[in-house]
């Protein structure tokens, strides 16, 4: 018995010895440059110097339009105000990830290890954003998100170095829409039509919770695949449901106009519609114009809002893009740039966690989104607008706010702990008990 024990102990010792020697040998064999770069080496709190920014966005592939707009917004700000703040020059390296998480990660690695950027902005698609945020936090580099709407980015996957700077979570941005429909809108029952994937589930969950918490009743929830082009069957289902209000959430692009054409083609009342940010963005307004005047939607971005910051931004973008009005993606890029500029002007050159805490402690009084601040999970807390399409004097169409919900956070009336204890939103779980 004892001999067995000692033998066991001896072999354990031998194994430990071998492991130690191997580890030593491995460290001794480490190639030059294997030592991890020190992320906190950047100087801080002083004026002057330069800041290198890596900007990842899908400028080719299925999301090329949105990706390019996101880059345009960022570039526009620096073109307008000069790429120098408080003596600090901003240098941006733009990388294309084609919406593919593996490419996104490789690009992030390239930016951090080869170009040695101070922080990374982007990417756009939810899974690429989550993958990059995970990597950048592991190497101590801040990651700012101008567009990505995935709830988990600042909830279950939140970390000290990831901030949502130019958008809101999917459920957060639609929750006030539900509240508005049940109260001011005066609707009692609702039917929802949402894209059948994470963003659609989150958007719908936001609306449904806002609506039911304020006494409304959701009679039916319909889901459509992202690739749908013909919405007539869905519109018939909506008609059959016979609810007071129809909530529609798409991921932007063709489904918005396609749905509206089918909806109006069957002669249903546009006054009953409430859409999400992306179904009624500038792309839809440019395509449908007069047909959609008066249609309502809910978003954190309202280009028709009466504010100096918005007016200046729209004027600049019109010049930049032959008279187009900027949508939410451009706004996200521009917002992120103006936020970085404001923080640098106030605090001087800050990098790493200092940059993130400088952003999250900052209250941006007159941003293009209105007055925004950040919560403990680095998510934007700010106004959400219920908007109505109006025709502008310049021949463009604008989403003009008709109701404003200030200081909307991502917890939908719960405490963070309660919200985080829930499962993630899906077709079957919409945040209702």
């Amino acid at each position: 018995m004892t001999s067995m024990k000692t033998r066991g102990r001896r072999s354990a010792l031998v194994a430990a010895g071998i492991a130690a020697v191997t580890a030593l040998a491995l460290t001794a064999c480490a190639p030059p440059g294997a030592a991890e770069p020190d992320p906190t080496s950047g100087s801080s709190g002083e004026a002057g110097g330069s800041l290198k920014v890596g900007y990842i966005s899908p400028t080719t592939g299925n999301f090329a339009v949105a990706g390019q707009e996101m880059v345009d917004g960022w570039n526009l700000y620096w073109e307008l105000n000069g790429a120098e703040v408080n003596g600090i020059t901003i240098e941006t390296i733009v990388e294309d990830d084609a919406g593919n998480p593996e490419t996104s990660l490789t690009k992030a690695r390239k930016l951090v290890e080869q170009d040695e950027v101070d922080f990374i902005v982007g990417p756009l698609i939810a899974n690429t954003a989550l993958a990059v945020a995970e990597y950048t936090s592991s190497v101590g580099i801040p990651n700012l998100h101008p567009v990505a709407a995935s709830d988990d980015l600042t909830q279950r996957n939140a970390n000290d170095l990831t901030v949502r700077t130019g958008s809101m979570g999917g459920s957060q941005a639609n929750y006030p829409g539900g509240e508005w429909a049940a109260t001011e809108g005066g609707f009692d029952t609702a039917v929802t039509l949402c894209a059948d994937y994470a963003f659609g589930w989150e958007s719908c969950a936001g609306f449904v919770q806002g609506f039911t918490q304020n006494g409304g009743e959701v009679v039916e929830q319909i889901w459509f695949p992202n690739t749908t082009t013909d919405f007539s069957t869905y519109v018939s289902q909506i008609q059959a449901a016979g609810a007071d209000v129809v909530y529609v959430a798409t991921a932007g692009g063709a489904p918005g106009p396609n749905f509206l054409n089918a909806y109006q083609g069957l002669g249903l009342d546009p006054g009953k519609l409430l859409m999400n940010c992306c179904s009624l963005d500038q792309g839809t307004l440019r395509a449908m114009g007069d047909q959609v005047v008066g249609v309502k939607s809910v978003s954190y971005w309202a280009e028709g809002r009466d504010s100096d910051a918005v007016a200046e931004f729209i004027e600049a973008y019109k010049e930049f893009s032959d008279g187009k009005v900027p949508g939410a993606y451009v706004a996200g890029g521009y917002m992120t740039a103006s936020l970085v500029a404001s923080v640098l002007a106030e605090k001087g050159l800050v990098t790493g966690e200092e940059l993130v805490s400088a952003i999250t402690e900052y209250t941006f009084e007159d941003s293009i989104f209105g007055r925004v601040s950040w919560d403990d999970y680095n998510n934007m807390v700010g106004p959400v607008y219920v908007r109505e399409v109006t025709a502008g004097d310049d021949g463009n169409f604008y989403n003009t706010p008709i109701a404003t919900f200030e200081d909307v956070d991502q917890w939908l009336g719960r405490t963070p702990e309660e919200a985080l204890a829930q499962p993630t939103y899906s077709q079957t779980f919409q945040g209702l008990e």
């Binding site: 294997a34 593919n100 995935s150 993630t424």
Partner: protein, 365 residues
């Protein structure tokens, strides 16, 4: 039992591997590449380059599994990304549930075997375009499951934070792990491809009915081939998820499987080095060229079209053909009647081989 022996012997007679000069050259080239790959981290390159080469090697391992089926069995699979993703999800789920990396391997292996078996069982009765469609369908099924079963797979957001075992934590050790896995996978596929089993597969590829009438169980051979190829694909999936610490449905997507076929065709179907060449081209265009050229997808398309038009056997295959043709021309010009004695020294073999061969050559003379 006696039947079995006869069978094996018959196969040997028409399928035995012959070590011709091209193969030696191939091996020499491989050896040289291996030496470069081993010293690479010491050449002062950045961690990013090492990680990029790891990406290439992982893609090459996956492409090699597709290449094995396509080259030996004539079965072009449009669903191998699905097998790799199944393995990655196995590891990812185990990691999310708090199992240690050892258990991740077990789950990854289990998922790989299960997925390969489903693929194999469904596709072993088919060939050609039907095989393509079945593998495509199963690949879509895995994509759909990854997308839909959000409580298990995290839906579109995927699973992140998957850690590899601690001892391979640093990027350059992991690079050697990936390199070793690639070399081992290539060697295994090479040995299997040149075994009686591989010869029977090629027989099935060339004439299924003849092999059946010779008494071969065509379906079991196909299933076996799929299981071998699928296991290698699963290995690549596990390596990929340990490299990126992340898995999402897009890793099971059809476009990923199509990329694999592009890699195989670019490199040359059925060649030893083809998958590596193809993977290197695709990964480099996707990750490096895209930083400098906006229209990089166009360039990838152009490369593909040019290879199909002018080098239909792929880059490795066409180079081999070119060498053969050049040698044939040279030989016919110098000494047309006498074929070269076997084992004569060759300029392209590795140094160790070189001396041995020269020695042998002298003895023969």
């Amino acid at each position: 039992m006696s039947n079995r022996i006869v069978e094996t012997r018959t196969v040997r007679t028409f399928g035995a591997p012959r070590r011709d000069r091209v193969q030696l050259m191939n091996l020499g080239l491989l050896g040289a590449l291996l030496v470069v790959a081993i010293v690479l981290p010491y050449l002062g390159v950045t961690g990013f380059v090492i990680s990029l080469v790891s990406t290439i090697l992982i893609a090459a391992t996956l492409a090699a599994s597709v290449n094995f089926l396509a080259g030996n069995g004539g079965m072009v699979s449009l669903g191998h990304a699905g097998i790799a993703a199944a393995s990655a999800y196995g590891a990812g789920w185990a990691s999310r549930e708090g199992f240690d990396p050892g258990m991740q391997v077990v789950f990854a292996l289990g998922m790989t075997l299960a997925a390969s078996l489903v693929y194999g069982l469904l596709s072993m009765r088919t060939s050609g375009i039907y095989f393509l469609m079945v593998t495509l369908a199963v690949g879509m099924l895995i994509y759909g499951l990854a997308f839909r079963l959000s409580s298990v797979t995290g839906g579109e957001n995927g699973i992140s934070g998957i850690e590899r075992p601690e001892w391979m934590g640093s990027y350059w050790i992991y690079y050697y792990v990936v390199l070793a896995a690639f070399v081992a996978a290539t060697a295994i596929l090479y040995v299997v491809g040149n075994s009686p089993f591989g010869a029977s597969l090629r027989g099935i590829r060339d004439s299924e009915s003849r092999m059946r009438s010779l008494g071969y169980s065509v379906r079991s051979y196909k299933l076996g081939a799929f299981m071998i190829s699928g296991t290698i694909a699963g290995l690549a999936g596990l390596l990929a998820v340990w490299h990126t610490h992340f898995v999402s449905p897009s890793s099971a997507g059809v476009d990923r499987s199509v990329h694999l076929i592009v890699m195989v065709i670019l490199g040359g179907v059925g060649t030893l080095l083809g998958p590596l060449i193809g993977a290197a081209i695709v990964v480099l265009v996707e990750n490096v060229l895209s930083s400098h050229v906006d229209r990089w997808p166009t360039i990838l398309g152009l490369i593909f079209i040019l290879v199909i038009l002018f080098a239909r056997a792929g880059i490795a295959g066409s180079t081999r053909k070119l060498f053969r043709r050049l040698r044939a021309r040279r030989e016919s010009a110098v000494s047309p009647p006498s074929p070269p004695p076997p084992g004569r020294s060759d300029t392209s073999v590795t140094p160790e081989n070189n001396t041995a061969e020269q020695h042998q050559g002298k003895d023969l003379q």
